[in-house]
Amino acid sequence: MPYVHRRFPYRSPPGLTAPEPRHPVVIVGAGPVGLALALDLARRGQRVTVLDDNDVVSVGSRAICWSKRSLEILDRLGVGERCLAKGVTWKVGRTFHRDTQVFEFDLLPEAGHKMPAFVNLQQYYVEEYLAEAALASPLIELRFRNRVEGLAVGEDHVRLGVGTPEGPYAIEADWLVACDGARSPVRRMLGLEFAGELFEERFLIADIEMKADFPAERRFWFEPTFHPGQSALLHKQPDDIWRIDLQLGWDADPEAEKRPERVIPRIERMVGHRDFRLDWVSVYTFQCRRLARFVHGRVIFAGDSAHVVSPFGARGGNGGLEDAAGLGWRLAAVLSGRAEAAILAAYDRERTFAADENILNSSRATRFISPAPGAERLFRDAVLALAAEADFARPMVNSGRLSRPCVYPLGAPDDPRLPPAARPGAVAPDAPQGNGWLTEALGMEATLLAIGAEPPATGLRTLRAEINAAVADRYLGQSDRALYLVRPDQVIAARWVAAGAAEVEAAAQALWREPA
């Protein structure tokens, strides 16, 4: 059954009839990133207004693969379990050259995590769950069919011109977060450069509905006999929907390639029959670009407005949700007066660093899939030829390095005796705790996690971890005790084998203060 796009209600904004009081924060764009940020801010007690030019969730085939980190972020926002229940869980990927398997990966070989390595779930479901949670929040005002058309940036506020079905109005905000997607009108109105590269390649992306018992794995082919000389990808989604990517070459005519009489035979060659329904077809070219800076005075960029990547590795939406997690607690602290606006520089620093890592990985994969003629192609083909026989070449076969959160370079207190998985800058690894999970227990506040150690008396929220094999492995290593300071975004801020209250408090205060 095709997904039914329900229309969200449009309500006359008060600004149409009388000037509105200044809003503390306005988010432009109710895609996954804008909605996740709105929920994150609301969970931290902040009032937020979201403007979106549309009134339906994402149409067509876009994001499907949601990473463990994204699921953990979504879980804190109240929709992780829904995504997990509806999504197709997978962790194994297989890559073929011609018709032989050359590479296989298992993304989460160990147990003891609430969330799997990945679930596949159509972007429209993720947006639907987020939008429902946002509509249920008394602190979030979602304004559908409100298109931002003008922007004037002041020293301490932003003034927006907004178009609605009933005409235009204006509002002011102390802070504006642009989550308005890859073509970001806000970015354009500010005249900001979006530097990077376009890959001269076209991909047919199709969602088809069919009954099939292929396993829930990611399957990628280089030069398969069913699609000679090009690459192909197959992914399972819920509702008997399958995602198919077929590389077409730069010379392909995108309009002609979208026609069912062209698409259906291509897919028939791949799946071996015609017993399927086309759910959505599109032809994409991909780019890797980013803004030089994500914070421009009172305007902050997050998600695709700040950076875009080619989808091999699923780093677009996942990277955007990580932006929301990295921004929410800091912006909430600025809004509540707990921290100075200067701490937003840390958001910029961390997320531009992450965007570079995502762009690096996505561009390498895209180049491997679609090498330039000449030496690039020569070495790509050399890797594929060797992979059939030589072990060393197999991990060099690159059909996408799947999204993982980067480790922020923090330069924070650390102890080399503790295991690298939980080093400062990394996301706190999950582990079972009682009947639940560590990620649940950590919640949304800065937390001092005491493991086999008596926590020093600080003003911080303190959690004593139950020690089990997963905790020992991920947090203790050779040590029998440790103290971890975990940030409100569940990134590890600092850690010690032993520390006094003053050391811990100094590290905690540094979270809310940008060094001069």
């Binding site: 020569l378 070495f379 083909d381 050399a382 890797v383 030829a385 060797l386 030589a390 060393f392 070449a393």
Partner: protein, 77 residues
Amino acid sequence: MTLITRPNLPDADGFLAELQAAHRGLAEAESAALNARLVLILANHVGSRAALSEALALAVRTGARGPSAPSRSPEDT
């Protein structure tokens, strides 16, 4: 310097002859492909990223043409 640039290969004449023999009769594209595979195999055997970067730089440098091409770079001295 991690890269060994002093003579280190026993029977160097023999190796060069074997390499040339492997390419005999190959079209230019096949030769290039053979070399590409060989580079990857050897790179894995070397296993040192630093040595490989130095090897790459040496290969690039010694291929540079024209009177302005430097014959020595700072790393050499």
